[in-house]
Every structure is written in structure tokens, then in C-alpha cells.
């Protein structure tokens, strides 16, 4: 129509075909559904065997008669009191876990965002090397890495000595067996879980969007908060979840780098299970921790409003 130059009526334009993209008709045919269910089967079996059954067992154990023992066996008495006891006795380590986990998550977010941003936008040809370096610590055992922090933060180590010279620490001040050491250890250990999802979502951002914001009178700082940050929210949400959940449940860092005063709930559960053999209390405490985390995650994801971004 427009080949007859200049005669094409401009009325043509508003009536552009406005078919919304991405609305394909649903695939027809039942066989496709059948194959889908078949493919789900191995995963479902796995979940049933290693999640549903143990979960059921955990819930059941948490309601056993607390008077039972390995020798006499346990009786199901629907002992809801286990939960009350667990909360009354262990609310301090429980809150401390959430607090330390939260602190470590915040530190990871700050450090990880800067690192992921640098890798995604500034690293150039060093990008892959830097990503490998982020993952490299995983080649050594979690335990070994945490133990080596014990050496680094040791009372006569160079870190403590330097801080003492700088008068940041008193002459008999120490880092080990303090919350600083525990939170630092958590931050260190879970940083890659923050960096990788952040990198993945930052890397997807079209740099031209940032240029466009700059072209539209946004100072780089404003452009960051109006464009880059909101577009990286999916990475922020998954990164914080991947960091907070394991960090709040971790007990190795508190055990190795802290003192009993820094004990986290994971450590308590572990010793209830293995040292005290108090299975019902341990199970009840595990349940409390799990429910708390699930509720916090749900609230968080709602608040972040990232469903539509994902």
C-alpha cells in the first residue's frame, strides 16, 4: 500500500496490529500432558522418599512423649508442650540465629552487589576469571575454610595484632569468640550464594537502559536507583533467600568461631539430637525454626513485590 509513495494515509498507523505478544493458544492434545506427568515421576518419588517421609517423621517426633528415650522407645502422646518448652528454653539462640543470619545477609548483599556489579559491567575480559574466583572456595571443604578463619582471627594473629596497634581493639581484646567473628564467618561462607544470583540478574540488564536513563536527565546515581536496582531485584530476592536461609540455620561458624554465648539454634538442635538424645525437643525446635523461616520468606517475597518481575 505504501509503495505508491506519499499516498498512504496516515490513518494507517494508529490501527497497527496490536496483537499482544505471548498469547499462544494452549497446546492441544492429551498425550503431551501424559508425558509431562511421566517426566515428573522421578522427581516426585525422590521428594516423597527424601522430603515427605522425613518431614512426617520430624513432625511426629516433635509430638512424642518427652519422657521417652532410646532404650525405652518413644510414645506418641501429641505432646504440644514440646514446642512451648523448646521456645521457652531456647528462644535466645533462636533469635540470635535470625539476627546473625540477617546481619550476614545484609553484609553479603552490600559486598556481593558491588562485586557482582563490577563483574557484570566493569570486568571486561576478566569476567570469567572473576566468576571462577567467586566459586573457587567451594573446591575446599566448608569446614576447612571455616577452621582457617580460626587461624586468621586467632588471638596472636596479624589481624588482631594490627587492630590492637590501631587501638581498634584493646590490648587484651580478641576477635575469636565474639559475634564479629561469627558474623564475619557467615558472611564469608555464604557470599557466593549472594554473588551468583545477583550477577545473573545484573548481567541480563541491557546497558542501553542505563544510557537511556542518562540521556533522560538521570544522574548516574539516580539512574542506578531508578533503573539498575529495580531490574536487579529478582537477583536481590533470590540472593538474600539463598544466603539468609542457610546462614540462619548454620551452626559450624558459631561453633568454631564463637563461644557458647554466640551459640546459634542449629548448634542447639545438633547437640539435642546427638548429645542429649532429646529427640522430641530437637524436632520441635527444628519445626519452629523452619516455620519461622518460611513465614519470613513469604512476607519478604510479598513485600519485595518481585512476582511480576520474575
Amino acid at each position: 500500500m505504501t509503495s505508491t509513495a506519499g499516498v498512504a494515509p496516515p490513518v494507517d498507523v494508529p490501527g497497527l496490529p496490536a496483537e499482544p505478544p505471548g498469547e499462544l493458544p494452549p497446546p492441544t492434545g492429551r498425550r503431551r500432558g501424559g508425558i509431562g506427568y511421566l517426566l515428573l515421576l522421578p522427581g516426585l518419588l525422590w521428594l516423597a522418599l527424601f522430603f515427605v517421609v522425613p518431614f512426617y517423621s520430624l513432625v511426629a517426633t516433635s509430638l512424642y512423649d518427652p519422657a521417652g528415650s532410646d532404650f525405652r522407645g518413644y510414645e506418641m502422646t501429641w505432646a504440644v508442650g514440646n514446642y512451648v518448652d523448646a521456645l521457652q528454653e531456647y528462644w535466645r539462640p533462636l533469635l540470635r540465629s535470625l539476627w546473625y543470619g540477617g546481619l550476614a545477609t545484609v553484609f553479603c548483599l552490600v559486598l556481593g552487589y558491588v562485586l557482582a556489579y563490577a563483574i557484570a559491567f566493569k570486568a571486561g575480559r576478566w569476567k570469567n576469571l572473576m566468576l571462577v574466583l567467586v566459586v573457587a572456595p567451594f573446591f575446599t571443604s566448608f569446614l576447612v575454610r571455616t577452621l582457617s578463619w580460626k587461624l586468621i582471627l586467632a588471638d596472636d594473629g596479624w589481624v588482631v595484632n594490627t587492630l590492637q596497634v590501631l587501638q581498634v581493639l584493646g590490648d587484651d581484646g580478641r576477635l575469636l569468640a565474639t559475634p564479629v567473628a561469627v558474623v564475619a564467618g557467615l558472611t564469608y561462607n555464604f557470599l557466593p550464594f549472594m554473588v551468583l544470583p545477583l550477577y545473573a540478574s545484573l548481567e541480563k540488564i541491557d546497558p542501553r537502559l542505563v544510557e537511556a536513563s542518562s540521556d533522560l536527565y538521570a544522574h548516574p546515581a539516580v539512574g542506578f536507583f531508578k533503573v539498575t536496582w529495580p531490574l536487579s531485584l529478582p537477583g536481590v530476592v533470590s540472593g538474600t533467600l539463598l544466603t539468609f536461609i542457610p546462614a540462619a540455620g548454620d551452626y559450624i561458624n558459631a561453633e568454631l568461631l564463637g563461644s557458647p554465648n554466640q551459640r546459634m539454634v542449629g548448634g542447639v538442635i545438633q547437640s539435642l539430637f546427638t548429645d542429649a538424645n532429646d529427640y522430641p525437643a530437637a524436632a520441635a525446635l527444628s519445626m519452629v525454626l523452619m516455620v519461622l523461616i518460611v513465614v519470613m520468606v513469604l512476607v519478604y517475597v510479598r513485600r519485595a513485590g518481585t512476582e511480576e518481575l520474575l
Binding site: L216, Y217, A218
Partner: protein, 396 residues
């Protein structure tokens, strides 16, 4: 159409004033603008004047430096040397967010997390302008997207996204609007109607538009001045008809439309007519259309300017007549017939013959004579590559 630049005195003239005197000019002025990336010079000492209120096209193949030039004007690249002034102000090193310049990006670069309304309002909000609601509504009316205001960019079609990008830039009333191949992602039919649409908007708002494209047809349709860029420099600049009718280099002759270029040697130069020996035949070329100082040249003629007839028959005289051709290929395309005619010296010339009904069709193998009016011929420098620009030409 030619209210625009006095092109004979502007960039290509080596004697043009190089620096200073910027305050007198209210358009966009580039002087000796250069950009190098490492060892590669993308833009080489570019001089350019874009008059205020004009629709200006930078036309060239990919990699010719046109996008780099645009990005330097936008402030997204820092020039290696040279100056950029806009309405008398030096903006060479001004931050992009401080320039009265807005860009329509090639891929639109709409903010995916904001709806159409907020995309368009972005620039106003950053400058804390008043009346955001009213102005955005007006702008959405101009591009006929009022009903889509609360949708996300991903929910719109390509043409609609393109208009959002245009609205988002235009709402800021920029001194200069930069368009970086804005129609490249659209299909042909939509592209044609958007060309008319963008041109309509430009006339309506009366702003300076600088449009970068590799599509010669798009540049000629939309712009009132076209600058043809190649290898980081401007080959020629002027109104589309002028560029087409009187190309100064083989690149322009081949990149803008098609040309027959035949080797020739200058015999006599007179004030009005230059006589050239073209493969043993004397042809004349208006001296104003001779673009070489050397004696060796390419005689150029557009295929649609060539007339074809049976040998010995009087054609549209007075013309340069070349006998001894043989039709080697005929393609009938409806409005015209395109012939390839093999000449005695072995070269095949293109002839586009309008199907007016006045001439009969010739068949393959038939002997013919070619002729053209001397005022349509042009003479280019023999030192230039005869095929320059033909491989890069888009479409056609």
C-alpha cells in the same frame, strides 16, 4: 526542501572556517570531531552543520562512524578531539544528563519495569517538571497511544514500542532529537508507515531531528538534508535529490541508488561543457558535474536516464549516443523494464526503461543503441574504486 544548508560552502569545503564563531550558529555544529578506539579511527575530523529545525539524516553502511557520531552528540561517547556546539553552547564534554539532547535508541531501550506512562514521564520527573500528567497525556495523544498508558513495554507491538521511545524522548523538548536506526527492527510495511509518521511528528513539533540510518531510501524519504558517511568521513551532503542527481564520488553514486560508471579520459575542458573520450566515443558532461581534476575519470549515468533504441534510429536528441550494444538480459518489472546491455568494450550497462508504451520491448540478443542527455551525466575521479558502496547498499 532546500531551505536547509547551503551545502556548497559547508563541510566539504576545505576553506570553511574551522573554529570560533560558534555563537552565531543556532543549530548543531561539529568541528574536526574525531573518535578513535585504540588504533581504530571511527570518526575522522568531521565537520558538520545541522540547521535548527531540519530533519537531517546521517546515511552510511554499518561501521561508517555514523552511530559513533550520534553517540558523541548524545554524550554517550567522549570525543578524542574536536568540538560539538549546540545553539551556541559548547557541549563537547558535557555530561549526557546535562545536554538538551534526547535519543531514540535502536532497540528502543524502554524501561521494562515501568509502564508506558512512566516511561514517557521519566525525563520530566528527573528534572522535577510540573504538569507531568497533562504533558504525558498530550504526548501519548500525539503518538496515539493514550489507551496503552498503563501497559508494560513488553505488552506492546514493535511499532507501538517505537512510538513510546519517540514520545519518551520528544516530551523533553530537546534542542536536537537523535534517532539511531529507530525503524531498523520493524518489518518493511510498518517501516514505511512509521517513516511517514515520524516525518509528520517532526513537522508538527518543528524540532531538529538527526536520524542515523543505513537505508538510503529511508534517508531520502524522511530527511531534508542527507549526509552520506563512509569510513569515518562525510562523502557528500545535500538535499536527497541533489545527492542522487549529482553524486561526487563513486561511493555516493553506488550507495544511493545505482549508477553506470564507464572509464573515460578528459579531452577538453570548457567553462560549461567538458568533453570526455569514453571508450572511443566523445561524450559531453556539464563542467559543474565534473568532480575530478585529473584527466582520467569515470563517466557516470543513472540507469533510468539511459534511453535504449534500435541502431541508427534518432533518439531523444541532442544526446551522447553510444552504438554497438547488445541486450544481454531483460527483466520486466511492471512499471519499468530493466535491461543489461553489453557494450563493445565488454562492460554491461544497466538501463531502466519506463513502460510508457512509447517504446517497444527489446529482447535478449537484440542489437541496440544507448543514449542519454548530457546534462544527466557526471564525471568522477578515476582513482576511486568503481564498486565502492555497491556491496553496502541496503535493500534495492
Amino acid at each position: 526542501m532546500s531551505q536547509v544548508a547551503d551545502t556548497s560552502a559547508t563541510p566539504l569545503d576545505p576553506g570553511a572556517p574551522a573554529r570560533g564563531d560558534h555563537t552565531a550558529y543556532d543549530g548543531l555544529r561539529l568541528r574536526a570531531l574525531t573518535k578513535s578506539f585504540g588504533g581504530f579511527t571511527a570518526v575522522r575530523s568531521l565537520d558538520l552543520d545541522v540547521p535548527r529545525g531540519s530533519f537531517f539524516a546521517l546515511l552510511g553502511p554499518s561501521g561508517c562512524g555514523k552511530t559513533t557520531t550520534l553517540r558523541m552528540v548524545a554524550g554517550l561517547e567522549t570525543p578524542t578531539s574536536g568540538t560539538i556546539t549546540l545553539a551556541g553552547q559548547d557541549i563537547t564534554y558535557a555530561k549526557p544528563y546535562r545536554r538538551p539532547v534526547n535519543t531514540v535508541f535502536q532497540s528502543y531501550a524502554l524501561f521494562p519495569h515501568l509502564d508506558i506512562f512512566e516511561n514517557v514521564a521519566f525525563g520530566l520527573r528527573r528534572r522535577r517538571q510540573k504538569d507531568v500528567d497533562r504533558r504525558v497525556q498530550e504526548m501519548l495523544e500525539l503518538v496515539e497511544l493514550t489507551s496503552q498508558a498503563r501497559k508494560r513495554p513488553a505488552q506492546l507491538s514493535g511499532g507501538q514500542q517505537q512510538r513510546v521511545a519517540l514520545a519518551r524522548a520528544l516530551i523533553n523538548n530537546p534542542e536536537v532529537l537523535l534517532l539511531d536506526e529507530p525503524l531498523g527492527a520493524l518489518d518493511l510495511k510498518l517501516r514505511r508507515s512509521m517513516q511517514i509518521e515520524v516525518k509528520r511528528i517532526q513537522v508538527e513539533v518543528g524540532r531538529t531531528f538527526v536520524h542515523v540510518t543505513h537505508d538510503q531510501e529511508e534517508a531520502m524519504t524522511m530527511a531534508d538534508t542527507v549526509a552520506v558517511m563512509n569510513g569515518g568521513v562525510i562523502e557528500q551532503m545535500g538535499a536527497p535529490a541533489e545527492l542522487y542527481e549529482n553524486p561526487r564520488s563513486t561511493f555516493v553514486a553506488n550507495f544511493l541508488g545505482q549508477s553506470n560508471l564507464v572509464e573515460g579520459r578528459v579531452l577538453r575542458r570548457a567553462a560549461d561543457v567538458t568533453t570526455v573520450d569514453m571508450q572511443g566515443i566523445e561524450v559531453s558532461v556539464p563542467t559543474a558535474r565534473v568532480h575530478t581534476d585529473s584527466d582520467a575519470g569515470w563517466v557516470g549515468i543513472r540507469p533510468e536516464k539511459v534511453l535504449v533504441g534500435p541502431p541508427g534510429e534518432e533518439l531523444d536528441a541532442p544526446g551522447n549516443t553510444i552504438p554497438g550494444g547488445v541486450v544481454s538480459d531483460v527483466s520486466f518489472v511492471g512499471v519499468s523494464t530493466q535491461y543489461l546491455v553489453r557494450m563493445p568494450w565488454g562492460q554491461e550497462l544497466q538501463v531502466f526503461s519506463q513502460n510508457t508504451g512509447r517504446t517497444r520491448l527489446f529482447t535478449q540478443g537484440e542489437p541496440v543503441e544507448l543514449s542519454w542527455r548530457p546534462e544527466y551525466a557526471f564525471l568522477l575521479d578515476r582513482g576511486q574504486d568503481v564498486a565502492a558502496g555497491s556491496a553496502e547498499r541496503a535493500g534495492a
